[in-house]
C-alpha cells in the first residue's frame, strides 16, 4: 500500500495516515499451534513461556465467544496477522529508528514530549515490537525497571515468571487466552519498595499493518509503598478492513503502594478493541484506572480491581465517546475480598450520530469483606435522537456490613442550555462542545495537562458537525 497523501488531511480523524506496509507483507494470516511456536521461537523464549502460550492457545480454541456485549461477528480470526516484526533489533536512540517510523512519531509529538522531559520514558510500540525505548537515568538509579515486555522477559526472567499470568490467567476469557498465546510487546514496569516515580511513565502504541492484530502484554509491579503513574495512549491509522487489538494488562499493587493507569484510547474506527485489564491490590494499596475511550469500532473493556488486602482501595474514572458506527462497551469491575475495602466508579458517556455507549460494570462483595463500601455513578449524555446509551451494572453483595450504591442518569443536551450559551454569542457547535466538555470535566481534570488538552481536542473533533 502506498502512502495516501489524501488521507493526511482527513479532519475527522487527525491521526489517520499510514506508512508503507512493508513489515506486514511477510507476516502470516491465521493462527494455529505452529504460529504460536514460531512466535516463541523467534523471540528465543524460555520453555515455560512457550508452554504458557500453548496453554493460552488451547483455551482460546475451547472458550466460547462472549454471549453478551458487542457484536463481534465481524472478526475473522483467520484473516489476522498474529506477529509482525518491524525491525530486527531494538533501536538505542531516536536517530537509529527507520525514517518512516520516525515520521510517524514526529506527528504524534513524542520527541517534543521527551525534549520537554515531560515523560519519564517512551516505549513506542510499532508493529508489535518495541523499537524505541529509553529510560531516564535517574529512574534507573532508583531501581525502576521500565522495559518493553519482550526485553523484560530476557533481562529479568525471575521476577517476570513470578508475576506473569497471576492476575489474569491464560484461560480467563477467550481474548485473554488469545493474547497469552500470541502476545508481543507491551510494557513492563517494576517499581522497588518505597520508590515514588514522580513523572508519569508513558507509552504510545500504534497499529500499522493492515489486518494486523496487536496483542501487547503489560505487566506492572509496584512494590510496597511505591507509586507510579503509567500512561497508555493509542492512536492508529485508518485502514480498509477491520483490525483487532486485544491487550492484557496485569498490575500488582503491593502493600501500601499506589498505581494510577491512564489510557486515552483513540484507535481508528475499524478496530475491535477487546482488552482485559486487571489489578490486584494488597493491604492498604490503591489502584486507579483512568480510562478514556474515544476511538475504535467496538471497544469491550472493563478495568478491574481485586481488593485482596484490608483497606485496599480501587477507583475507576471512565469516559466513553461513541460517534457514528461506534460501540463503546466500557465499564469497570470491583471485587471486594477483604474487610474495610472501598471502591468507586464514575462513568461518563456521550453518544452521538448513531453511536452506542454502554456502561457495563460488576461489583462483587465476598462474604467476609465487611465494612466495605462502593459507589457507582454513571451519567450518560445524548446529544441527538438517533444514538443509544445503555447501562448494565451488576451488584452482588454477600456480606451484611457493607454499603453499596449505584446511580445512573441519562440526559440530553437541552434547548435551554444551548439557547443560554448562544445568547451569549457562542455559535451552536461551540456551545455544544462546551456542554460536553463540562460533562466530562470531572474526568478530564484527573488527567495530566497534555492529556486533558488532547482529550478536549478529540472531543472537539468528534463534536464537529454534531449540530446543524
Amino acid at each position: 500500500m502506498d502512502r495516501n497523501p489524501e488521507l493526511e488531511g482527513i479532519g475527522v480523524y487527525e491521526f489517520g495516515w499510514s506508512d508503507p506496509d512493508s513489515a506486514g507483507a511477510s507476516a502470516r494470516r491465521g493462527i494455529n499451534e505452529d504460529v504460536v511456536r514460531d512466535i516463541s521461537g523467534k523471540k528465543d523464549e524460555p520453555e515455560w513461556m512457550l508452554e504458557r502460550r500453548l496453554r493460552g492457545f488451547d483455551y482460546f480454541g475451547k472458550k466460547p465467544m462472549p454471549t453478551w456485549g458487542s457484536d463481534l461477528s465481524g472478526i475473522d480470526f483467520d484473516n489476522i496477522k498474529y506477529f509482525v516484526r518491524s525491525t530486527e533489533r531494538q533501536a538505542q536512540s531516536w536517530e537509529d529508528l527507520p525514517e518512516d517510523i520516525r515520521n510517524t512519531y514526529e506527528r504524534l509529538g513524542i520527541p517534543e514530549a521527551e525534549r520537554a522531559r515531560l515523560v519519564a520514558g517512551v516505549a513506542a510500540q510499532y508493529e508489535s515490537e518495541v523499537v524505541y525505548h529509553q529510560i531516564r537515568e535517574d529512574l534507573e538509579e532508583q531501581g525502576v525497571i521500565f522495559l518493553d515486555t519482550d526485553t523484560a522477559l530476557k533481562e529479568h526472567p525471575e521476577i517476570f515468571q513470578e508475576y506473569f499470568g497471576t492476575v489474569i490467567p491464560a484461560g480467563d476469557n477467550k481474548f485473554a487466552a488469545l493474547n497469552t498465546a500470541v502476545w508481543s510487546g507491551g510494557s513492563f514496569v517494576y517499581v522497588p519498595k518505597g520508590v515514588k516515580v514522580e513523572i508519569p511513565l508513558q507509552a504510545y502504541f500504534r497499529i500499522n499493518t493492515e489486518n494486523m492484530g496487536q496483542f501487547e502484554r503489560t505487566l506492572i509491579i509496584a512494590d510496597e509503598d511505591s507509586y507510579v503513574h503509567y500512561i497508555e495512549g493509542c492512536t492508529a491509522p485508518i485502514y480498509q478492513s477491520d483490525s483487532l487489538h486485544s491487550a492484557v494488562v496485569e498490575i500488582i499493587v503491593k502493600k501500601g503502594a499506589r498505581v494510577r493507569y491512564t489510557t486515552i484510547q483513540n484507535w481508528s474506527t475499524n478496530v475491535y478493541n477487546l482488552v482485559t485489564k486487571r489489578a490486584i491490590c494488597h493491604e492498604g494499596a490503591t489502584m486507579e484506572w483512568i480510562d478514556g475511550n474515544i476511538g475504535s469500532k467496538v471497544t469491550m473493556k472493563y478495568p478491574a480491581v481485586i481488593l485482596a488486602g484490608e483497606h485496599a482501595r480501587g477507583e475507576t474514572l471512565s469516559v466513553a465517546f461513541a460517534g457514528e458506527g461506534q460501540h463503546q462497551d466500557a465499564g469497570a469491575k470491583m471485587i471486594h475480598l477483604a474487610p474495610h475495602t472501598s471502591s468507586s466508579i464514575i462513568s461518563k458517556s456521550i453518544a452521538r450520530a448513531g453511536g452506542r455507549a454502554s456502561y457495563r460494570g460488576e461489583i462483587r462483595v465476598a462474604a467476609g469483606a465487611h465494612h466495605s463500601a462502593n459507589t457507582v455513578r454513571c451519567d450518560a449524555l445524548l446529544v441527538d435522537n438517533i444514538s443509544r446509551s445503555d447501562t448494565y451494572p451488576s451488584v452482588d453483595v454477600r456480606e451484611d456490613d457493607v454499603s453499596m450504591g449505584h446511580e445512573a442518569t441519562v440526559s440530553r443536551v437541552s434547548e435551554e442550555q444551548l439557547f443560554y450559551l448562544q445568547s451569549r454569542g457562542l455559535p451552536e457547535d461551540e456551545a455544544m462542545a462546551m456542554i460536553v466538555r463540562g460533562f466530562i470535566e470531572p474526568i478530564a481534570k484527573e488527567l495530566p495537562m497534555e492529556y486533558a488538552l488532547e482529550l478536549n481536542k478529540l472531543i472537539e473533533l468528534q463534536m464537529e458537525g454534531a449540530v446543524g
Partner: protein
C-alpha cells in the same frame, strides 16, 4: 442484557437489545436451562423441580375468587382472542407452563367498572408435583379495579399471567407469593397497556424455596403509565428472583420501578434484574428504576442489576439506582437515642423499609397478614 446468541448475517452475535430476546410459546424454541444463559445464571436447574420441561400437569389446587358481581370469571380455550394477547414466553420455564395449560382462567372487568372492593383470587396449592396455570386479567375501558392474586399453600407451579388494560383503564394487580417453604414458583406476568391506561403492579414474595417472577410491560398506545412495585424477604436457603422489564415502544409513557428486599440467614439469595428499554419511537418517555436491598446477616447474597437501554435522546428523563447495604446507622442511632433498644430499633427499620411497598397493596387484611409474617421472620433472627 444479552444472554443468548442470535443468528446473524455472518455468524453468531450476542443479543444487542432487550427486545431482541426470543419470544415463543413453543418449548422446543428454548435450549435446556444452564447457568451459562444470562437469564438463568443464578438458578440451579434441579431446584426448578421439573418446571422446565413437558409434560406437566395442570394446576389442581383450589382456585377461589371473591369479586364484585360485575366482574366475571371463566375458563377460556387456547384459541380465545385474549389467550396470548398480552405477551409470549421469553424463557423456557414460561414456555413449558404455557404448553401445559390447556385453558386459561379469565377474570374480566367490564368497561367503566369502578370497584371499591378488590377482586381477590386465592390460589391454594396442595402438593409438590410440577403443575401449570394460565391466568388472564382483562380490564375494559375506563375500568378501575384492584386484583389480588394470593399464592398460598404448597406447590411447584409454572404460571403465566396476562394483564390486558384497555384505553384509560386504571388497574392495580397484586401478586403475593406466600408459599410454604418447600414450594417452587416461576411466574411470567405480561401486561399490555392501552392509551392513557395506568397499571400499578405490586409483587410481594415471602415464601418458597425458589420463586422467580418476571413481569414485562408493553405499551400498545401512547400516554400510559406503569408503576412496578416489589417487596421480598428471603430467609436462609431461599432463592427469590425478580426480573421486571419495561419496554417503552410508544411516546409519552411513564414507568417507575421500585423493588425493595431484605435478606437474612445463610444462603438467602435474592436476584433483581430490572430492564428498561426506550426505543426510538418512545419520545417523551419518563422512567426511573430503583432496587434496594437490606442484608441483615452474614451468608446472604443480593444481586442487583438495573439495566437501561436507550435509543433516543428525546426523553423526559431516565435513571436508575441500586443500593445494597446494612441498616442505616443514623436511623438506628436516632431510634436508640430515644430509648428504643437496638433489636427493636432494627425491627422498626426493616418494617419501615418493606412497608413502603406493602402499604401500596391497599387491602388491609392482606397488608396486616404480610407484615405479621415478616415480623415473625425478623423475630426469629433477632432471638
Amino acid at each position: 442484557m444479552a444472554g443468548t446468541l442470535n443468528e446473524h448475517s455472518h455468524g453468531l452475535a450476542p443479543v444487542q437489545m432487550r427486545s431482541e430476546r426470543k419470544r415463543s410459546a413453543d418449548l422446543a424454541e428454548f435450549d435446556a436451562i444452564t447457568m451459562r444463559d444470562e437469564q438463568w445464571r443464578y438458578v440451579e436447574v434441579s431446584r426448578l423441580k421439573g418446571l422446565d420441561n413437558l409434560p406437566m400437569d395442570e394446576f389442581s389446587g383450589d382456585i377461589e375468587l371473591e369479586a364484585p358481581e360485575a366482574v366475571s370469571a371463566s375458563w377460556i380455550d387456547r384459541d380465545h382472542a385474549l389467550f396470548g394477547s398480552a405477551g409470549l414466553p421469553e424463557d423456557r420455564a414460561a414456555a413449558a407452563a404455557w404448553g401445559a395449560a390447556s385453558q386459561a382462567y379469565l377474570i374480566s372487568i367490564p368497561d367503566n367498572f369502578v370497584g371499591d372492593q378488590p377482586v381477590y383470587l386465592t390460589l391454594r396449592g396442595d402438593h409438590l408435583e410440577a403443575s401449570a396455570l394460565h391466568l388472564v386479567i382483562s380490564a375494559g375501558k375506563f375500568a378501575e379495579a384492584t386484583v389480588v392474586i394470593d399464592h398460598v399453600g404448597k406447590a411447584v407451579l409454572g404460571e403465566n399471567v396476562e394483564i390486558i388494560l384497555a384505553d384509560e383503564a386504571k388497574v392495580k394487580v397484586v401478586s403475593v407469593q406466600d408459599w410454604s417453604r418447600d414450594s417452587v414458583h416461576v411466574s411470567a406476568q405480561y401486561s399490555k397497556l392501552g392509551r392513557n391506561a395506568s397499571l400499578e403492579h405490586v409483587v410481594v414474595t415471602l415464601g418458597g424455596d425458589l420463586v422467580r417472577i418476571t413481569p414485562t410491560v408493553d405499551f400498545a398506545a401512547p400516554g400510559a403509565s406503569v408503576d412496578l412495585q416489589g417487596a421480598y424477604f428471603a430467609t436462609a436457603g431461599q432463592h427469590l428472583e425478580h426480573r421486571p422489564f419495561v419496554d417503552h415502544s410508544q411516546p409519552n409513557c411513564k414507568s417507575n420501578v421500585t423493588y425493595k428486599g431484605a435478606l437474612q440467614g445463610n444462603k438467602a439469595h435474592t436476584i433483581w434484574v430490572g430492564d428498561v428499554l426506550i426505543r426510538k419511537a418512545a419520545e417523551g418517555t419518563d422512567t426511573y428504576e430503583l432496587n434496594r436491598n437490606l442484608i441483615l446477616t452474614d451468608g446472604a447474597r443480593a444481586d442487583s442489576v438495573p439495566n437501561l437501554e436507550i435509543e433516543t435522546g428525546e426523553i423526559e428523563g431516565a435513571g436508575h439506582a441500586s443500593a445494597s447495604g446494612r441498616f442505616d446507622d443514623e436511623q438506628l442511632f436516632y431510634l436508640q437515642a430515644r430509648g428504643i433498644p437496638e433489636l427493636e430499633a432494627r425491627r422498626l427499620v426493616v418494617r419501615g423499609f418493606l412497608n413502603e411497598v406493602i402499604q401500596r397493596i391497599g387491602v388491609e387484611d392482606l397488608e396486616a397478614r404480610l407484615t405479621a409474617s415478616i415480623e415473625e421472620e425478623l423475630a426469629r433472627s433477632i432471638a
